[in-house]
Amino acid sequence: MESTAPPSRPPLRSLITRTRRRAASVVLTPPWLIQRYFAASAAATILVLLLILAFLLRESVGFLPAYRSELETYRRSGLEFCDIAREPLKHQQVLASLLRRAKAATADLICKQELADAEIAFDAAIAPVSALLDQLGAIAQQTKALDTEAHTMEATRQQLLAAAASTQNEATQKSLLAEAADLKAAPVDFSERITLILQHREELAAALGSYTVALAHAATKLPEDTALISQVRAAIPRHVSEVKTAAAALKEWQWDRHIPWHRAIVAFFFGSHWITNSPWQDFYGFIPLLVGSAVIALIAVCLATPISVVAAIYTSQFAGAREKEIIKPVIEFIQAIPSVVFGFIGISFLGDAIKGISEWDCLQWVPGFPIQERLNMFNAGCLLAFMAVPTMFSLAEDALNNVPRAYIDASDALGATKLQTVFRVIVPAGIHGILSAILLGLGRVLGETMIVLLVAGNRIAIPDFSAGPGVVFQPAHTLTGIIAQELGEVSRGSTHWQALFMIGSVLFAIALFVNWCARAVARRFEPCRT
């Protein structure tokens, strides 16, 4: 370097020699080494974070195209066609269930008989449609199975060919190639197989038509109104119109219509079904899991905020030095309890306790009481709240302690009482810090896995919000819980695997956003420090 540097540029040269000299004299001193070590540690942490991010993205990026092609097979095999008709017919089961319940509830024998007749009429109405749909569904499932088989065979063939290409041994190569040649499978001719289904299109439309007529006729024979029967009566017109809409949609349906890219995105981010390992069709809908996570986090934050903020105000403003010495370590000790222990408490004690309390007569005015499920969102929310308290308490307390002394002195000088100072001066001055503490608590709650997996009840459905505030006593599944529960089983690289990684990525984005909000809020609070 020194020799190649042109003599006409002495400043650069002197700079190089100077740094080299300095480096030579500094390089081996312990402070320099320690400093480098610290810097390397920081760099390694950032690097690992970036690697995790890259890994998450790499695994999840293939999800949308894979899901789109699954949806395309779903359409081309005719499964979608069957589902269009099946979806409104599910409602018939709800009506039949109401009728059976009405029959069990009534004591009047004539009414019972009439309801039994109505039930038979309801079943008879749907029987031809179900039989036809079962037949069509079987064809569609077979088409899909053939397609899957062709894909598997092709993938295996490629594997064998790759193995043959890489091997040196000629005999093995030959046998591998022969095996690969055996595996040649013809791709499924969707257009041919779909005609097997579509030739029944008119028949299905006619069956749906006569179903609505038969159902309306059966409804006229329903006996005297009780609450349950009038519910059935009221639901029938909507059900009939739904079936008619479906029948119209069946006429429009085309097996070869292309599925646009955004369909897969919409189906994931706004899908309300998460169905995996299904013999019919897997759906990866994000909403039930998101709603579960969100409701549980909301319960936890609502419970933890008052406790931790009030405790922080007391500790920082009212408590004596000895009280502080007890309160702070004890609350912070909660953080040391492993979350699986909380989970066990939830299963073995808290669930039974909440259920027991909900059966007290004096509490029956509470919405949702008496509760049926021990494992529910409220149970999980309580435990998560307890777990989030130390985080929120410590940060809120710090924020209150950081309120400048001058504010307090000024308030005292104006003759304010202690309470007035706290509520009119200190808390408003520290409010950004408190908000940031709440947000960081929220982040902690959203990311927690073990408690929700054990205690939330694992029901993959959007909670029934028509129950009002009592909805918190229903079970739910969560974003973190589903990853923990299903990742162990799925085969690497499958669409299901990628879907779970996609959820991981979204969870990561949510956590990042919550933390960013907390920082943004806290930054507004910074100037007060000076």
Partner: protein, 268 residues
């Protein structure tokens, strides 16, 4: 999870004791790996078998991934091997060999205080598919039904769909529990609960076994019970040496006694 840990500790304990002997690595289903195979392994060692065992039970599909990777000598599975798993093994140069080891009966349980003691097969289907929502619809005391199923990674989850539900899906409101014990715990605490467990678990005190179409699970009449299923061991190629010795032991009268003791049925 607990069973996996138990099995692991058991396997490790054995591995430490007899590190010098040859080791059989067994991977796969937790239905088999929780109790049956560890008990068989212990009995096998007790009668003088000179091998050590390393058992890990994390679901049936891990049996085949481990066999294909050559990281297990024996795979346990509560279902038959799927075609794609067979091809995966073949592409790694392994021909899997199937051995029917025992039969399990999926047992439907309800709360001890539930008056229902028999369900029609059709009603069972409708309950788990979510069509029947209230106990009064099947002649019980009125109350909304809570359905507990295993989670998707379990062999029983799929088998039950095939055996009892004619391939229909579980209802949206069903709750997916991590293991048999958890289902027992929830059903015994919930008067309106219903769930299914392996036959070995149905003796718990808080629950009651429900017969299906009049057929109660009975080790003497396995084939006439509609929800019974075979379980399998898989080896790569024909078993030989200590693998063969162990499998022969499982099928011997001594092995069959162990199988019966753990709630399975050896020869229906």
């Amino acid at each position: 999870m607990k069973h996996t840990l138990l099995a692991l500790t058991f396997g490790l304990g054995l591995a430490v004791n007899v590190a010098a002997q040859s080791t059989l690595r067994i991977r796969g289903s937790d239905t088999l790996g929780a109790k049956l195979i560890p008990c068989l392994a212990e009995a096998f060692k007790g009668q003088g078998g000179k091998v050590s065992f390393d058992i890990a039970a994390e679901g049936s599909s891990t049996a085949f991934s481990n066999l294909a990777a050559g990281t297990a000598e024996i795979g346990m599975s509560s279902r038959k091997i799927k075609p794609d798993e067979r091809t995966l093994c073949r592409s790694k140069g392994i021909t899997v060999n199937e051995i029917e080891i025992a039969w399990d009966m999926i047992t439907v349980v309800v709360n001890r205080n539930n008056p229902i003691s028999n369900l029609k097969g059709r009603h069972l289907l409708q309950i788990f598919a979510g069509d029947i929502k209230d106990w009064s619809e099947v002649g019980g005391t009125p109350g909304p039904i809570s359905v507990y199923t295993r989670n998707t990674s379990s062999g029983a989850y799929k088998d039950f769909m095939g055996l009892a539900m004619k391939g229909r899906e579980y209802g949206r409101k069903s709750q997916k529990m991590a293991g048999n014990e958890q289902i027992i715990a929830e059903v015994s605490s919930n008067l309106h609960g219903i769930g299914y467990v392996g036959y070995a678990y149905c003796g718990a005190s808080g629950v009651k076994v429900v017969s299906i179409d009049g057929a109660a699970p009975n080790p003497l009449a396995v084939k006439s019970y509609p929800l019974s299923r075979p379980t399998f061991l898989y080896t790569s190629g024909e078993p030989a040496g200590s693998i063969k010795a162990f499998i022969d032991f499982c099928r011997s009268p001594a092995g069959e006694a162990v199988i019966a003791k753990t709630g399975f049925v050896s020869h229906p």
